[in-house]
Amino acid sequence: MKGLVIWIKTEEGADESILDKLGREIEVRGGRVEVFHSEAIENLGMENNDRAKAVACAMLASHGVVVIASGPEHPSINPGEKLEVRIIEESDLHRTDTKDIFMRDLELAGLVPPPKYDVHPDEEKEILKKLQDLGYLEE
């Protein structure tokens, strides 16, 4: 699978939990994922800037991993042939319609695997609870 950087456009210093959420979603499809938090840049001993982050993400992703990061702007770096960069507004990830379209695009481009499950593993747990409440399953 070709490497992919998903860059989520957020305000400076925004909550990064959306990165983990998206990462989990790709992981349960069987994709190899690295969620690249801003903190990682500092832990690597670099100054937190979007350029450093983008370069680090590109290096990781060129090994066929989906890398998810966020920042105000994705600096233009040369991604090379082994890599794609897709940019999405954070607000679009919170809206079901625009998020679905984004994910489907990635799927059709062969950048993330299509879901292997019929029911999302996280949702499966909620459904089991509901089936117990309705009396279909013993607690």
Binding site: T96, D100, P114, P115, D118, V119, L131, L137
Partner: protein
């Protein structure tokens, strides 16, 4: 592993809570199109994945491919059109529009991003899908009331649990799939019904249960024609019989919110594919499945399955004959298993049973279990059937 959904992925375009609010807010002040009862059923079943791989109402290319060749453009088998028709008084729309979908009372049930608006020859559709253009066919009558203009596009549907009928029995495909897995079922057989349960149905279900892990009782509760026994009565019959006559870990009952199309053989395929999405590996097809009047041959709905490669259907039809009690056999049987003359068979037509129940006469216990007959008789007294 359960059977994979039709087309490979289980569609989930159903939203509730804050996500549903988001949809309503997006479309409320824009163009709203009106759903008729069948379209409302279809919207629900596209949204919850029962109609996977459909993601919306059909555009012209899929519509034509389906009525002519029983396949979707993308490849999978599909036997009946799932379309949305333009209504009198609704605003004009064109591709690219994002519209809300409301029922006749004005409640919003979803949205559609319009991809196609096209004219259809409805009588050609009737001929190809129903096999007739005769007015006495309810499916033809339905088509005659439509405008002839269809609107296609991807939908999202809204779940409003609080106002649904049969709340305790409404399982979506993803829910039946989780249920089957939790019970350890790898194979399951679906029984579609729009009738109350008589001994003949029980016998057929139990024959099927002998070869699979579980039974999904799936009574249809969408729109049916006048004269069919109301869904409430049918459900009461099933609740009663499940108490004493079925092992409860081997059976699941849930409602099937589809409208009847009375398309006979093509609807049998349609019903089977939808049950595959619910996780069923097998589907019971009786004589004259989804038929009406004398429009279809007795075995048409069974024979149509032979036109397809089993792999492209992905669900196995179990073809059954009418069953009856045979006094010589001393048990339930069918023409396939009983060697005796019909004078030994206890068999009553639906019409005959109805007349008996109206007059307060209990059908013989070999035909209907007394617990069920009581429920039907009470319903007949109250004018429910």
């Amino acid at each position: 592993m359960l059977v994979p959904p039709h087309g490979g992925r289980l569609i989930d375009r159903q939203y509730e809570g804050s996500e549903a609010e988001e949809i309503i807010n997006q479309v409320r002040d824009g163009k709203l199109l009106t759903l008729n009862p069948r379209e409302k059923n279809d919207l629900e079943m596209i949204g919850n994945g029962a109609m996977s791989p459909l993601e919306g109402f059909m555009s012209r290319a899929d519509y034509e491919m389906v009525i002519d060749l029983m396949h979707l453009v993308a490849g999978p088998v599909w036997s009946l059109p799932v379309v949305f028709s333009q209504k009198d008084g609704d605003p004009d729309v064109s591709p690219g529009d994002h519209v809300g979908l409301k029922d006749i009372e004005g409640t919003i049930w979803g949205d559609m991003r319009i991809e196609d608006v096209f004219n259809a020859d409805l009588m050609a559709e009737a001929e190809k899908t129903l096999g007739t253009i005769d007015d006495s066919h309810p499916g033809v009558m339905y088509l005659k009331l439509l405008s002839g203009k269809y609107i296609g596009g991807k939908i999202r549907s809204i779940r409003r649990r609080e106002i649904e009928s049969f709340q305790n029995y409404r399982l979506d495909p993803k829910e039946t799939r989780v249920l089957f897995r939790a019970r350890g079922w790898k194979t399951a057989v679906a029984f579609q019904t729009r009738n109350p349960i008589h001994r003949a149905h029980e016998y057929i279900q139990k024959c099927a249960m002998e070869i699979v892990d579980g039974l999904l009782l799936h009574p249809l509760i969408g729109e049916t024609q006048q004269g069919d026994i109301p869904a409430e009565v049918r459900m009461r019959c099933y609740e009663e019989i499940l108490k004493d006559y079925y092992p409860n870990t081997r059976v699941a009952m849930s409602v099937f919110p589809a409208a009847m199309r009375y398309a006979g053989p093509k609807e049998a395929i349609f019903h089977a594919l939808l049950r595959k999405n619910y996780g069923c590996s097998h589907f019971i097809v009786g004589r004259d499945h989804a038929g009406v009047g004398n429009f279809y041959g007795t075995y048409d709905a069974q024979m149509i399955f032979d036109k397809f490669d089993p792999d492209e259907l992905g669900i196995v039809p179990l073809k059954f004959e009418h069953a009856f009690f045979c006094s010589k056999c001393g048990g339930m049987a069918t023409p396939k298993t009983c060697a005796h003359d019909s004078q030994h068979h206890v068999f009553l037509s639906g019409k005959k049973v109805r007349a008996m129940l109206k007059e307060g006469i209990l059908p013989p216990p070999e035909f209907t279990r007394p617990e069920i007959a009581e429920i039907l008789m009470e319903a007949a007294r109250n004018g429910d059937n």
